[in-house]
């Protein structure tokens, strides 16, 4: 088991954004998360990556309790993430964006430029290396955000709706990237995604969150048959 959450909750005042969530993520799997808007998916990522400490409960990564650690410490343990709202360092070049991940995120403090080049080629952004990030279009921004996360040498990667706003061709491309990171680089992936068919397609296991609670946990194939999921999420007319 790579990551485990035990009764993790995060309250914003009275609002239970994440409510008593138990997860067990196995090494090497692709773990899907879905749920209606405001279900607490992003907040769960924020708690795992240390941006918020949990209000209660524990997060365990490879037998270490990581809840309560600072984000940079959690990053150094091997957890990286991307953000739902695409963010890069707007005034830095693409290469410098990625270097931030490599210099500050990787445990080996020495800059490994062959690793950076490998990532850049893998994502196909060679010819954007020297572009200032604020001049990029959406898909490349997402790739740069991913590249910086990969540069930290992560073992576990949290992707928060990485495919929102992409064209069908870009989505196909991105799915290939995810599979490759998972299979060839051995990175365990947790992915939040609204497109439920896509999520079913790529995930080994899926959970559905609603109102901060886990309402479904299991295999993707059985998801569409689950009464509760149909009621609160898939329901009202197929998407």
């Amino acid at each position: 088991m790579v990551l485990k959450t035990e009764g993790v909750s995060k309250y914003f005042g009275d609002l239970r954004a994440v409510d008593n969530v138990d997860l067990e993520i196995e090494e090497g799997e692709i773990y899907g998360i879905a749920g209606p808007n405001g279900a607490g998916k992003t907040t769960l990522f924020d708690v795992i990556s240390g941006l918020w400490p949990p209000s209660s409960g524990k997060v365990i990564f490879k037998n270490d309790i990581i809840s309560g650690l600072k984000p940079y410490q959690i990053c150094h343990k091997g957890i990286a993430r991307t953000f739902q709202i695409s963010t890069v360092f707007a005034t830095l070049t693409v290469l410098d964006n990625i270097k931030i991940g490599a210099v500050f995120g990787a445990k080996t403090k020495k800059l490994d430029s062959s690793h950076i080049n490998e990532i850049i080629e893998f994502l196909g952004i060679q010819n954007k290396k020297d572009t200032i990030a604020q001049n990029l279009e959406l898909y490349t921004i997402k790739l740069v955000m991913l590249a910086a996360a990969l540069a930290t040498d992560c073992k576990l990667l949290l992707l928060d709706e990485p495919m929102a706003g992409l064209t069908i061709a870009e989505i196909d491309n991105f799915l290939q990237i995810i599979r490759k990171m998972n299979k060839e680089w051995g990175i365990t992936i947790v992915i939040i995604e609204h497109l439920i068919d896509t999520l079913i397609d790529i995930s080994d296991r899926i959970i559905i969150l609603d109102g901060g609670k886990v309402i479904y946990k299991g295999l993707p194939e059985e998801l569409t048959k689950d009464k509760k999921v149909i009621e609160v999420y898939l329901g009202k007319g197929e998407e």
Partner: protein, 319 residues
């Protein structure tokens, strides 16, 4: 050929050459040299502020106060201990960095944006009353006088070259910092904090670093300034030096190198020029600042970008 060296490098080397040679040819005109020496101090002060405010995006407003702390520390150290000012100046810069990191950097670690403005202003605002309370040693409101010169019988030319050395070294190091991974971390935290944190940047450490570095250079410039003038008083903590420094930084280009230096050139020399021609200096300077900020919101460094773009296009056409 000219294209290969790059016009920016040419401009920098030419300016440096002018500065180096000026006293050789105009040895008698010590007034202009005085203006140059002030310019060295302002340029380092504004550049150090730019490191903190522009690059790291930490909106501390205490930087002139930091400069003054440097001046008092070095002046008092030299006067009361008799140690050579040449040793006191770097020591005072280190002391300033310590004081500011401890009293402004540490407490503001958890603050953001406008709250840092308020907190740092409170710090700067407290300095005059600290000086009044310690009147016995600091001279209080009347100022601290008879700060020893760098050495006995020092001439203005010597001050000119020492000031120039401090200017060069400070700007060179600041340039190295903003292009190093530490500088990139400052920018990363400014551009997108959460992303920076999730990529392994230790926010507290980097913020303390930038406070220490920026106050070191402001303190260094201030220390030199005190020995050069021979006195320092709380009036330096008033509103006009503050506005002048902030205008240099903003006018040159926030978070750009060497934006603050260009801002200092325009404001120090512009202001003297206007004084000579007897025109209403502050009105014209104020109007110039407003106009530049209106038409070049990214400061005078935008001119550099425009020239770069024209060159790029020209090159593209030639190819």
């Amino acid at each position: 050929m000219l294209n290969k060296i790059g016009w920016k490098k040419m401009a920098i080397w030419l300016s440096l050459l002018v500065i180096v040679l000026y006293p050789v040819f105009f040895h008698s005109n010590s007034y202009i040299m005085h203006i140059f020496i002030l310019f060295f101090c302002w340029a380092v002060l504004a550049s150090s502020w730019n490191l903190l405010f522009g690059y790291a995006g930490i909106w501390s407003l205490a930087q002139v106060g930091v400069f003054v702390i440097g001046a008092y520390s070095s002046g008092m150290m030299a006067k009361f201990t008799g140690i050579s000012p040449l040793i006191c100046i770097p020591l005072a810069a280190i002391l300033t960095a310590l004081i500011v990191t401890l009293f402004v950097g540490l407490p503001s670690l958890r603050l953001k944006g406008i709250y840092i403005c308020v907190f740092s202003l409170m710090f700067a605002d407290a300095l005059p009353s600290v000086l009044t309370q310690t009147r016995k040693w600091t001279g209080g409101g009347r100022g601290f006088h008879d700060i020893p010169p760098l050495w006995n019988n020092i001439s203005r030319v010597h001050y000119y070259y020492v000031g120039f050395a401090i200017f060069l070294i400070s700007l060179f190091i600041i340039y190295k910092i903003v292009n190093s991974s530490t500088g990139k971390a400052f920018i990363a935290l400014r551009d997108s904090r959460d992303f920076a944190l999730s990529l392994g940047i230790n926010e507290y450490k980097e913020r303390l670093k930038v406070f220490a570095l920026s106050s070191f250079f402001a303190g260094l410039a201030g220390a030199f300034y005190g020995h050069y003038l021979g006195h320092i008083s709380p009036s330096s903590l008033g509103i006009s030096p503050f506005l002048l420094a902030i205008a240099m930084m903003e006018m040159g280009g926030l978070g750009r190198f060497p934006g603050a230096v260009i801002g200092a050139v325009v404001l120090v020399f512009g202001s003297e020029l206007l004084r000579l021609t007897g025109m209403s200096r502050l009105t014209i300077l104020g109007a110039a600042v407003v106009l530049i900020m209106l038409f070049m919101p990214k400061g005078l460094m935008q001119i550099v970008d425009i020239i770069d773009n024209i060159k790029l296009r020209k090159n593209a056409i030639i190819k």
